[in-house]
Symmetry: C2
């Protein structure tokens, strides 16, 4: 099968590597012509996962039209803030008025559009039409491990079982297990919201609070994510799965997680601005924590951890004050 991977960050590159090793023809689109040129010459992405050797079936192209040429499916791996802009750019080639209005598309990005509070598949559906050909992938999948061939599992969710099965088949191999689901809302919301909890877990680790409190934060974090997912039409069960609990655990515990390491820096008195200047990385959780409390408010539910993370990141609240205020909440029956 021939696939286009739009976006050449860590995760896009790892998925391109995976698809190429599964025997597919892959063209990665990247804006940066120099990156594409190195990729095509040396088989390595010079900026992300730069140690990973791509199979010969993976090529790069800086022209979107050419990258999409002949593709039987598209994988979208741009940063979440670029989702609408990417949708607009893709519309000419695979939008509802284009020659390929039903081309299957798999979204890898995780986030919420800040301006609208919309999940990214909804943003893409607005720009591209034909929402039934859209799918989303999420799970405990650090790119660094997947691209080393280490065992991982993930979820592909789509309205259409056929679209889910298409991407399941393309991506699966002995070391990458792909489960299918229909709950695109739950999968997306978990993917966006876990980054916020990972910031809180990083704060707790930075304060030396220990393993018990880390597990408490993950569990209570998933409880609030789950409340929102259900309020928005998702399924609680999804939150218990690989895209929910699984991804949350890996994001909160792994030393690969930039959201967690940003939280640790907050505990040492750091700021978002300083962290981004130093690392040149987007902290997805810092973006998402602005949208989530608004969505929660709209749905009439409580997300205390996310709200406190927002206050620390965006209003300069002290982490100690955040912790004290969280702990002042009475312990109720566990689920309410």
């Amino acid at each position: 099968m021939r696939l286009a991977v739009v976006g050449a960050g860590s995760w896009g590159s790892a998925v391109a590597w995976l698809l190429g090793n599964n025997g597919h023809q892959v063209c990665i689109w990247a804006r940066d012509a120099e990156l594409v040129s190195v990729l095509n010459r040396e088989g390595k992405n010079p900026r992300y996962l730069s140690e990973v050797q791509m199979p010969p079936s993976v090529k790069g192209n800086a022209e979107l039209a050419q990258a999409l040429d002949g593709a039987e499916a598209v994988v979208l791996a741009t940063p979440s803030v670029a989702a609408r802009q990417t949708g607009v750019a893709l519309a000419a080639f695979i939008g509802k008025d284009s020659a390929r209005p039903a081309l299957p598309l798999l979204l890898l990005s995780k986030g919420i559009e800040h301006e609208s509070g919309k999940l990214l598949l909804d943003v893409l559906a607005e720009e591209l039409g034909a929402p039934e050909r859209l799918a989303v992938l999420s799970g405990p999948n650090h790119a660094e491990e997947v691209a080393r061939g280490l065992l991982s599992a993930t979820v592909v969710a789509a309205r259409s079982p056929e679209v889910a099965a298409l991407f399941q088949t393309a991506l699966s191999n002995a070391n990458f297990r792909v489960y299918t689901a229909a709950d695109t809302t739950g999968v997306q919301l978990c993917g966006a919201a876990k980054n916020v909890i990972a910031i809180a877990a990083g704060v707790a680790a930075g304060l030396g609070l220990g393993d018990n409190s880390a597990a408490m934060l993950m569990t209570r974090g998933l409880a609030e994510i789950s409340r929102l997912a259900v309020a928005l039409g998702g399924e609680q069960q999804t939150c218990m799965g690989l895209a929910g609990m699984g991804d949350l655990i890996v994001t909160c515990t792994s030393h690969f997680s930039r959201n967690r390491s940003f939280g640790e820096e907050l505990a040492r008195g750091g700021t978002l601005e300083a962290y981004m200047q130093r690392t040149h990385m987007v902290v997805e959780g810092a973006v998402a924590c602005r949208s989530l409390p608004l969505l929660a408010q709209g749905a009439g539910i409580e997300m205390p951890i996310s709200e406190h993370v927002r206050a620390v990141v965006w209003e300069g609240r002290e982490v100690q004050a955040m912790l004290a205020s969280l702990l002042e909440r009475p312990a109720k029956p566990e689920f309410y």
Copy 2:
């Protein structure tokens, strides 16, 4: 309030410390008169958490009748294999035909009675009667951290909201958050079954499989625990909570976890016998993995991870063969 804590292992000692610091009068019962004598002389348990200084309100007694004298509630912290035997011993003092047939009792032990496949509160109810006064506590609570005053949260489940509230009030403080629940079956089953998954997580860590696969094992592990909990009358939601996901995470990831470290030893070719000889510790997961597959079979559900752990621990199956066989299972829709 005056409480008796029956059992002076790590967790019993930590809970006694907690209750004592919350202003309660606590008497710890231990069979070992020498341990009791050191505890009363120096305020320290010489065998478990031996660095922890007990408050003066915590005393020890090697006579069960004296330890229970005047107690308004009992906390049970003996190893899970001793549950029935402890129930029999307690019956004379707090059983249905005794002078205190309704004394509230909080169970800290986690396990399944191997011979009968029964949960421990059911075993206690058989020996003591009055099941409505029984409660169980479970959550992500490594004793070492709780007894250092580090932040933790837990669940107390009881049929009776009053009994749950009594223990919630006795145990709660700023650093130990106690949530209540009614699902004693789910809380107990999660507590017993997570130790088996922790062995699997230790095996995976020992084989160098990485963070993604650890999260996968925890998530798929909770999925199979959840199937059994629901089949036995528990609630899926409990499995998402502190006694389910929370405790599973801490047991699978923490370096304090003996079930996990036993799994790591299995990956290096070790055996249960050798591990127990070396550490003098009961590996609760090795006990539970004999009962769980039987319960699952009886309920007509699949628990592939637990079944594979059982085969490795009790039938000397190679860990590599276990892994290969698990990975041969087709990836289905995520929940079935």
